[in-house]
């Protein structure tokens, strides 16, 4: 496995776009929250309290710093692993937990697996499972926003494996041709389930794929919040100035399993894992904060504790929600129930046991 390249390519990082010192603690808090939620959810899944989970440990710096650099007006097109982005966007934890449970509070109405969420009010588009589809959609939205004269960018998140998808190809190509104000944020976490980065593509870096589309590519150390932030700020400014899209490759590592269905020991070594654990982005930012006096060990402990109890509180609230109403199953296929669906709903309601146990 390649180690993360700490330098950027093509684009020098302007020192001016380091994360403002006064923001740093906020960034750190978001990263800690992500980690705490992530760990709790892994436990919840083991306990059968949620059905499935996709952890993101190791990717906190990349996600939080990227989201931090955006305006709340910017549209986000996530994949399924963007907890840090969601939290930084301000999506309430309780809402996310409702989704993981699939209860009556779930904005997705219990229709999707955990981690496949979206919230229109937060300009965070509902994720699907097929990888990559969001990439070209983000380009369409950017074109629409520009046509409407609204000065925003769209940002789409995806992994190293997803650069092989059809939608990566069409998305980058369309964006290059129309100079769409889109940021392509690739979290190269070195693995696509069991496939290592170097078997995914022979391209030297993933950022280099931008060449094929006339789209500038940047490699950043995704464990370094400043580098990520700077790259995103710069890409955003370029996009808003009419300079077109940017492809950012944030080099990170997925510290956990691909999902709760995955056992990474089948395909990667402890040595590799430990090497990257030593670069834990949370530890890295903590050192910086300790060094410049914004944080003490004690304040840090408090932060983790208070975050944990916040999560517990949100979880209790989410678990107290009623289950999703079965009759909603027929809604939202179309704007209005079609005659055919109306008939199906009726037959459903008239079934002898309206809520039979699972067979």
């Amino acid at each position: 496995m390649a180690e993360p390249t700490p330098s950027t390519e093509n684009e020098p990082v302007a020192v001016a776009s380091r994360i403002p010192s006064t923001d740093l603690l906020g960034v750190y808090r978001m990263m800690v929250t992500s980690r705490v939620v992530d760990e709790r959810c892994l436990t919840l899944q083991r306990q059968g309290r949620i059905g499935f989970y996709v952890p993101m440990q190791g990717q906190e710096a990349a996600q939080v710093a990227c989201a931090w650099a955006l305006s709340p007006e910017d549209w986000i097109f996530p994949a399924y692993r963007e907890l840090g982005v969601a939290l930084t966007r301000g999506i309430p934890l309780k809402l996310l937990l409702d989704q993981f449970i699939g209860n009556a509070g779930d904005a997705m109405k219990g229709r999707q697996m955990p981690n496949h969420y979206g919230y229109r009010a937060f300009r965070f588009v509902t994720a699907s499972s097929p990888v990559g589809t969001q990439i070209v959609q983000a380009v369409g939205t950017a074109m629409a926003a520009r046509r409407k004269g609204e000065p925003i960018v769209t940002v789409t998140f995806f992994g190293d494996g997803t650069t092989s998808s059809n939608d990566f190809h069409s998305g980058l190509n369309f964006a290059g041709v129309v100079q769409a104000p889109t940021i392509f944020f690739c979290q190269n976490n070195q693995w696509a389930i069991s496939l290592p980065r170097e078997k995914q593509t022979r391209s030297e870096t993933l950022a280099a794929k931008g060449v094929a589309y006339g789209v500038p590519g940047v490699v950043v150390d995704g464990t370094d919040v400043h580098a990520v932030y700077a790259a995103v700020v710069q890409a955003r400014e370029r996009a808003l100035a009419g300079g077109g899209p940017t492809l950012i490759e944030a080099q990170v590592y997925r510290l956990g399993p691909h999902s709760t269905s995955d056992d990474p020991r089948r395909y990667r070594s402890d040595a590799e894992l430990n090497q990257w654990k030593a670069k834990d982005p949370i530890a890295r930012l903590k050192s910086e904060l300790l060094a410049d006096g914004q944080l003490t060990e004690e304040a840090d402990r408090d932060l983790w504790e208070s975050t944990k109890s916040e999560v517990s509180k949100a979880l209790a609230a989410a678990e107290a929600m009623p289950p999703v109403d079965p009759r909603t199953m027929f809604d939202d296929v179309f704007a209005r129930l079609s005659p055919q669906l109306e008939e199906q709903r009726l037959s459903f309601e008239e079934l002898p046991s309206p809520n039979p146990v699972r067979t």
Binding site: R120, T126, G140, A142, K148, S170, V333, A335
Partner: protein
């Protein structure tokens, strides 16, 4: 009212929608300066400019994917797929994304894209310029599937599609793009979805068709009238939502049903019609439900006149059905 061909009616519909609503735009391959390979988008670029009439790179994935993104933001994109045979690179975006966006987001992200595409045989297009894949899309929950058979419906259904709130696949029978002309209302003419139209009234057999097959079936029905067999011909127009009422009412009246489409028979759209009849009008049936369709082969070039249901084949089936015990 103006006398137009079907493709002209589509063109007028696009003009009408784009003039009345600045959120409507058109994108696809060769839709701009070339006006579309069938000229359906002719003149749009000149009037509406490059921002609203977008010549895209050669990627159906990109066309539909970008259209989805535009729709999420509130625009009303009308995407053209040059031939429906080339829609498959966009299949994932259509089936996994477009059809499911509203549902998967709990209603937060409606995604109203119209996909227009010429479809069907009869123009010597061979395997890859003749297909009728409507069943794939009709089977995909969340999509509406519309097929006009004449210029007035083409314009009226297209305008309904563009102003609908749901994704619509709008299949244009290219064989009759120019072969069929008719009076088309001017202005914002709308034909509602979910309503079949009765092309010929009759009492002996019900014939269900759509697209170019309506004309083939009409020929057959007219020919049989001279033999004393009075078939009722119903043009479905809207496959999803389907006008089940019209379907069942006609079968209840005649007790006999012949279904005509170009697509291969196996698991074709006709299967659903036959299944609905077998489920809901069984006791009215006096004869087996018969399907006259393309054969279960890919679409052949030199033999398309034999592959496609033609007047003789349809007439033969109606006659047999009318005479069945």
């Amino acid at each position: 009212m103006t006398e137009l061909t079907l493709v002209q009616a589509v063109n007028r519909g696009l003009f009408e929608a784009m003039r009345s609503d600045p959120d409507v735009l058109v994108l696809g391959e060769d839709v701009g300066v070339n006006g579309g390979v069938f000229r359906a988008t002719e003149g749009l670029l000149k009037e509406f400019g490059e921002e609203r009439v977008i010549d895209t790179p050669l990627s159906e994935t990109g066309i539909v994917g970008a259209a989805i993104g535009m729709a999420l933001y509130g625009l009303k994109p009308v995407a053209e797929i040059q031939f429906v045979d080339f829609i498959y690179p966009a299949f994932d975006q259509i089936v996994s994304e477009l059809a499911k966006f509203r549902y998967r987001s709990g209603g937060q992200y409606p995604c109203h894209v119209v996909i227009r595409s010429p479809y069907g045989g009869g123009i010597k297009g061979g395997l890859y310029h003749s297909q009728s894949p409507e069943a794939y899309f009709a089977h995909t929950s969340g999509l509406k599937v519309i097929v006009p058979s004449n210029p007035a419906d083409a314009k009226g259904l297209l305008l309904t599609a563009i102003h609908d709130e749901d994704p619509v696949l709008f299949l244009e029978p290219k064989r009759i793009y120019r072969a069929v002309t008719g009076e088309v209302p001017d202005g914002d003419h709308r034909v509602p979805f979910g309503l079949a139209s009765t092309v010929r009234e009759g009492s002996d057999v019900s014939v269900f068709a759509y697209g170019a097959m309506v004309h083939v079936a009409a020929q057959a029905v007219d020919a049989l009238a001279t033999e004393g067999i009075h078939a009722e011909l119903i043009d479905l127009r809207s496959l999803v939502p389907l006008d089940e009422k019209a379907l069942l009412a006609s079968v209840e009246k005649t007790g006999r049903a012949v279904i005509v489409h170009e697509a291969p028979r196996f698991c074709g759209f006709g299967a659903e019609l036959a299944a609905i009849i077998a489920e809901k009008a069984l006791y009215s049936l006096k004869a087996p439900v018969v399907r006259v369709t393309g054969y279960d082969t890919p679409f052949p070039y030199a033999l398309e006149h034999l592959y496609l249901p033609n007047m003789e084949r349809v007439a033969h089936a109606i006659r047999k059905t009318a005479q069945a015990a």
